[in-house]
Amino acid sequence: MMIQSLAMGRYGSYVWSAYGVSALLLVATIALTWRAYVRAVAELRRLERDDEASSP
């Protein structure tokens, strides 16, 4: 029953491919976007700390 519902008639490969590609691209985009943001935050904080350390 489970295998039948995953097979989705004769459309299973198309349906799961569509959902799989969508999930892959969306998760990759979320990860890359967040990584770039976290790196920018870390870099700015480092520069602010360096400024504070070097100021009299």
């Binding site: 989705m8 198309y14 569509a18 969306l26 976007t33 943001y37 700015l44 400024d51």
Partner: protein, 239 residues
């Protein structure tokens, strides 16, 4: 609204929004996926292939909505020289291109079992492919020159001119003889789709919209932070 022209104020105002946007998108997309994959019955003509609609249609709507956003932001940037307008437009483009690609790919995977082909050069599909090329061209213009002011202006003009493609996409199924089916949701006389299919569709659309908004805001925040970094590293840098 003009107050958000101040990048610091934009950063402060958008920080509390992000957890809500991402939580909402996760919940809505999870609900939409469950309904679309397991709860909705097979459609009479399409069978289980109808389930592709729940990721194809929302992706297409976001793709078009994102381009409209870029065009509007571009007008704002050119006319009012709003400091964040061109940043907002530039950061929406990769996301819009992503959703356009998703719509094209999922549409092809629906088309093969339904039409017997992954692709056909009908008006809807062709104009949607053109949308993808417009996104690519827009992003290429931003990277074409080191002079950001010139790049922003050229990209804005392309975005505004390219917006003519949006009504062409929308009405292509009415104006030409297309393989792609006609309008079945936003039409006079109401949707031609049963409620059992409409609800997961709108839940997925709302989830995708929240996800787009969250990612767009994160990208704008990243761009602002990078500009602040550049200013600190090279104090003469300013725009």
């Amino acid at each position: 609204m003009i107050g958000y022209a101040n990048p610091r104020r934009f950063l402060d105002a958008t920080r509390p929004l992000l957890p809500w946007l991402f939580a909402a998108s996760a919940g809505l997309i999870a609900t939409g996926l469950y309904l679309g994959l397991f709860a909705v019955p097979p459609e009479r003509q399409q069978g289980d292939a109808v389930r592709i609609m729940f990721i194809h249609v929302p992706a297409a709507w976001i793709a078009m909505g994102a381009y409209a956003l870029i065009a509007i932001s571009s007008v704002w940037a050119l006319v009012n020289r709003h400091p964040l307008a061109d940043v907002a437009a530039r950061e929406a483009a990769p996301l819009g291109a992503l959703f356009t690609a998703l719509a094209l790919i999922t549409g092809s995977l629906w088309g093969k079992p339904m039409w017997g082909t992954y692709w056909v050069w009908d008006a809807r599909l062709t104009s949607f492919l053109l949308l993808f090329f417009l996104y690519a061209g827009y992003m290429a213009l931003w990277n074409a020159t080191e002079d950001e002011t010139r790049a922003a202006r050229a990209a804005a003009i392309l975005a505004i001119v390219g917006a003519v493609n949006l009504p062409i996409i929308k009405f292509s199924v009415d104006w030409w003889n297309t393989l792609h089916q006609g309008e079945s949701i936003f039409r006079s006389g109401g949707p031609a789709i049963a409620a059992v299919f409409l609800w997961p569709l709108f839940i997925m659309l709302t989830g995708y919209t929240a996800l787009f908004a969250g990612l767009w805001i994160v990208r704008i925040r990243t761009a602002i932070l990078r500009r602040m970094i550049r200013t600190r590293v090279s104090p003469e840098y300013s725009r």
